[in-house]
């Protein structure tokens, strides 16, 4: 497992990554209210996990924060102290969303291409990221030549290339097998350190390994539980007894809430 030497310092120093504040957020789909006056703050520079049953509105919340969904939204979503001109968010989904006609390095640089900001320097940075993530041999390969785990690694690097301080993740590792998932979680924890991360997941263990804070989302309109704060710095060892016992608590919470 990866050990964290920086984590103690990190927790003392106030991170520069902004918090996300939701104030009185309401949102409905036709005929169905998903959120009603929701207040929620995601701490800056930390990894926050959102866990809950399918269809409870977790992904909707991410889309509202990312700005891809805004019709029918009322209330305020702020990053840090004020409203920046541009949302500081990057997006990572369950599907890798790699473009099959672009090779790996061009996929990593997709954001820069789409903003017409592509440069040789960006390309070099992408290549060094790929090497660091163990994909140095696949720089010029097409995505179809990669395994599912490798593709998702490329998607993670594409997210990092955006150099945004807020990263939104929608079940990014759920389609992978267990071992690949654990490895990718470690890599993600190492690479995004210092950024504000909000991750939606179905997997209690994943939340407990990666989250500084874990919220359970349930009900309609959806509400959030008090945060669960697992001990120690992520990524935590899956075999840690404290984690295993907390997993039981978390599953309990999920189950109880679902009955309500």
């Amino acid at each position: 497992m990866h050990t964290h030497t920086k984590s103690n310092i990190e927790s003392d120093v106030r991170s520069t990554a902004p918090s996300i504040s939701l104030e009185q957020v309401s949102f409905s789909y036709p005929g169905e209210q998903i959120f009603h006056s929701l207040n929620f703050t995601v701490k800056g520079g930390q990894w926050t996990c959102l866990i809950g049953p399918s269809g409870c509105g977790k992904s909707t919340l991410l889309r509202l924060i990312s700005g891809t969904l805004h019709e029918g939204l009322s209330g305020n979503i702020r990053f840090g102290d004020g409203e920046g001109r541009r949302r500081p968010t990057a997006w990572m989904a369950q599907k890798d969303l790699l473009l099959p006609w672009l090779n790996v390095v061009d996929n990593v640089c997709l954001g820069a291409r789409l903003r017409n900001e592509m440069s040789g320097q960006k390309r070099l940075r992408a290549i060094s990221l790929l090497k660091d993530a163990g994909l140095g041999d696949y720089v010029n390969a097409l995505p179809s030549a990669l395994s599912g785990g490798m593709r998702q690694r490329v998607a993670l690097l594409r997210t990092l290339m955006e150099e945004r301080s807020v990263i939104l993740m929608d079940e990014p590792f759920s389609a992978l097998d267990v071992l690949t998932r654990l490895k990718l979680q470690d890599l993600a924890a190492r690479l995004v350190e210092g950024a504000t991360v909000l991750m939606v997941t179905h997997d209690p263990l994943e939340a407990l390994r990666l989250g500084h804070r874990i919220y359970v989302m349930t009900g309609r309109p959806a509400t959030l539980s008090d945060p669960l704060v697992p001990p120690g710095a992520p990524p935590r060892n899956a075999g840690d007894p404290a984690i295993i016992s907390m997993q039981a608590i978390l599953i309990d919470r999920l189950e109880n809430r679902e009955i309500l």
């Binding site: 997006w91 473009l99 006609w101 291409r113 789409l114 903003r115 939104l168």
Partner: protein
């Protein structure tokens, strides 16, 4: 391997043709046998090839121009949404008029030469290309577009880097259809009024009861159409190279 099957089909069809001629005893001025046609092709090779060149030029020019305008039209409709509402009805109306009915008009306006045949071909090709490409451009994976939106992508860059490449497979199938129907445009144009081309030569030989030569012209037209289709198919496979790799993978998994 790849050539065995088409060859078997080709010779099979020729064999059936010869059998029908031999067993039914149809006179040669109704249905000449393949050997007679081959002989006629040899003895009239000069004018046959001469007229083939004309038709091929018409088809290829029509294909290029029609594909260009068809693709451009689809792009304009996707890039400037409000224009779509004006262009789409025009497109549909243009297809409601049978293109064949326009052939005499085109000859009247553009003359006996190649341009009326090219215009005819363009009219026939235009619609399948536009429809297929527009459909492809419209049905881009929504999650790609969402990702691009979070990346603050420029709208034109999204069209260039995401929408167009992802529409290329649809465009390719549209162009395949267009290639298959393109000869119709050229031939119909020639029938209505011309003094050159395979369509003209078929009418000419028909009127002089040189049915075997007419069949030779028809065979040449088939060869031209098949060759053209084969070339376009190859180019399209190269164009959507990422799908080719996917296909090969699926093939080898079987």
């Amino acid at each position: 391997m790849n050539f065995v099957r088409p060859m078997v089909i080709l010779f099979g069809l020729i064999a059936i043709w010869q059998t029908i001629v031999l067993t039914s005893g149809v006179p040669a001025y109704i249905l000449p046998g393949p050997i007679k046609v081959a002989e006629a092709a040899m003895s009239h090779i000069g004018p046959l090839l001469d007229n083939t060149v004309t038709t091929v030029v018409e088809i290829i020019a029509g294909l290029f121009i029609g594909t260009f305008w068809g693709a451009l039209n689809a792009l304009v409709m996707i890039a400037f949404r409000p224009l779509k509402r004006w262009l789409l009805p025009v497109l549909v109306i243009s297809q409601a008029i049978p293109v064949f009915a326009l052939a005499p008009l085109l000859v009247l306006w553009l003359g006996y030469g190649m341009s009326s045949k090219i215009a005819m071909t363009v009219l026939i090709i235009f619609f399948p290309v536009t429809a297929a490409f527009y459909d492809g451009l419209r049905s881009t994976e929504p999650e790609w577009l969402e990702l691009a939106q979070v990346m603050n992508a420029k709208p034109m860059a999204v069209i260039r880097h995401i929408r167009i490449p992802s529409a290329l497979p649809a465009f390719a199938s549209g162009l395949r259809v267009a290639t298959a129907v393109a000869p119709i445009g050229a031939i119909v144009g020639e029938w209505v009024g011309s003094s050159k081309g395979l369509g003209f030569y078929m009418l000419y030989t028909n009127a002089r009861m040189q049915i075997d030569v007419m069949f030779a012209a028809l065979a040449l037209l088939c060869i031209v159409a098949l060759t053209l289709y084969f070339i376009v198919d190859r180019v399209m496979i190269k164009l959507v190279f990422w799908q080719k790799e996917k296909n090969e993978k699926e093939e080898s998994n079987r």
